[in-house]
């Protein structure tokens, strides 16, 4: 824990109420107090004797919490984790290439939204192509012939169809 040097800390004016809040939340050790309010809280403790009870109560609680045993991981935990990492499957080259295309600043939404939009557009395009009615080639051909050969063509087709009777 960092040493607390009161002379180098900023001195913010801390009220008795705020000092009590700090004691209740962070305890009696100044190194745990919010950095900008440390010196001010100490000054408030000196200034307001009524805070002595709050300080003692915080100290008792700190002793209680200090009773939680220190935890040290097993000696071989780091080795086990390193070994497990060694056996992790390597990322396939195609996935690496795909991830390289995505900017480092991209969020999942900034990737998914354009992909979803592209997917919808492609789907709609395929559906539109499937349902657009085919052009009437026969009618177009007829018009072309009329345009090219005039009424004589029209008469010929009329007679062919048995219209001369």
């Amino acid at each position: 824990m960092a040493k607390f040097d009161q002379s180098s800390e900023p001195l913010l004016d801390v009220s008795a109420k705020r000092a009590a809040q700090i004691l209740e939340a962070y305890g009696a050790d100044p190194t745990r107090w919010p950095f900008s309010e440390r010196a001010g809280t100490l000054a408030a403790l000196n200034k307001f004797p009524a805070l002595a009870n709050s300080r003692q109560s915080a100290t008792d609680m700190d002793h209680f919490l200090g009773g939680v045993p220190l935890y040290t991981p097993s000696a071989d935990l780091a080795r086990r984790i390193s070994a497990a990492a060694l056996h992790e499957p390597k990322t396939p080259a195609w996935r690496s290439w795909l991830f390289d295309l995505i900017p480092a600043s991209a969020t999942p939404m900034s990737v998914m939204q354009p992909m979803a939009t592209l997917f919808v557009a492609v789907t709609l395009g395929i559906m539109a192509g499937a349902f657009i009615p085919g052009s009437d080639n026969d009618a177009m051909a007829e018009e072309f012939m009329l345009l090219a050969f005039g009424p004589a063509y029209q008469m010929q087709t009329f007679e062919d169809a048995g219209g001369a009777e």
Binding site: S57, P73, A84, A85, T91, A104
Partner: protein, 197 residues
């Protein structure tokens, strides 16, 4: 890999002196030595935090292992602007919450019973006190327990702890105050036992 390790050893800056950001650059490139250096630096804190949350050594080490394996597995997705310590504690906390939800961990452990035939050795007394304290902490709601673990046992600043929990500093202080008030009530109830020990 051995040759790469030799080259690294001969490089100007040993891995242990590099910043977290620099180590992450090496890890993203797949360098396992950098991963080992990161483990050496942060494993105890992460495992310790998981222990405070779960009050179970085996579960805590599982959480620590999974946290670091996720870092290694997803290293290609690492964003340079992210803060490693915040990421590690957040992932560890989420893994602890998963275990609570799956009820893999019994959170209300009963302290060891005293055998009257045993003399009141100092070690036994300390162990019993620690058991009572652990039991009291284990009764706290998860968020209060996490707040106290980060501020009190991991010595993080209020801003760092609030960032890990994803809350404002005011909300953090509220959690700390409520947690300490709950513990104070338990302290009052346990005082005779603690005074005996």
């Amino acid at each position: 890999m051995t040759l790469m390790a030799t080259e690294m050893e001969q490089s100007a800056t040993p891995m242990s002196d590099e910043s977290d950001e620099a180590l992450m650059v090496h890890i993203c490139a797949g360098e396992r030595l950098a991963f080992t250096a990161l483990l050496d630096r942060h494993l105890k804190a992460v495992a310790g935090f998981a222990y405070r949350m779960l009050i179970d050594t085996a579960e805590a080490e599982d959480v620590a292992q999974e946290t670091f394996l996720r870092l290694w597995r997803d290293r290609q997705k690492w964003r340079p602007e992210a803060k490693l310590q915040t990421w590690l504690f957040r992932v560890a906390r989420n893994l602890c919450i998963d275990r609570f939800r799956r009820k893999e961990v019994v959170t209300d452990k009963v302290p060891e019973q005293i055998d009257p035939r045993d003399g009141p050795s100092a070690d036994l007394q300390r162990s019993q006190s620690a058991g009572l304290v652990n039991n009291a902490v284990a009764q706290l709601p998860e968020r209060q327990r996490a707040a106290i673990a980060l501020i009190y046992h991991q010595d993080l600043s209020n801003i760092e702890a609030a960032g890990i929990l994803g809350i404002s500093v005011d909300a953090l202080e509220s959690l700390l105050s409520r947690g300490r008030r709950h513990l104070k009530k338990r302290l009052e109830a346990l005082k005779p036992h603690l005074l005996e020990n």
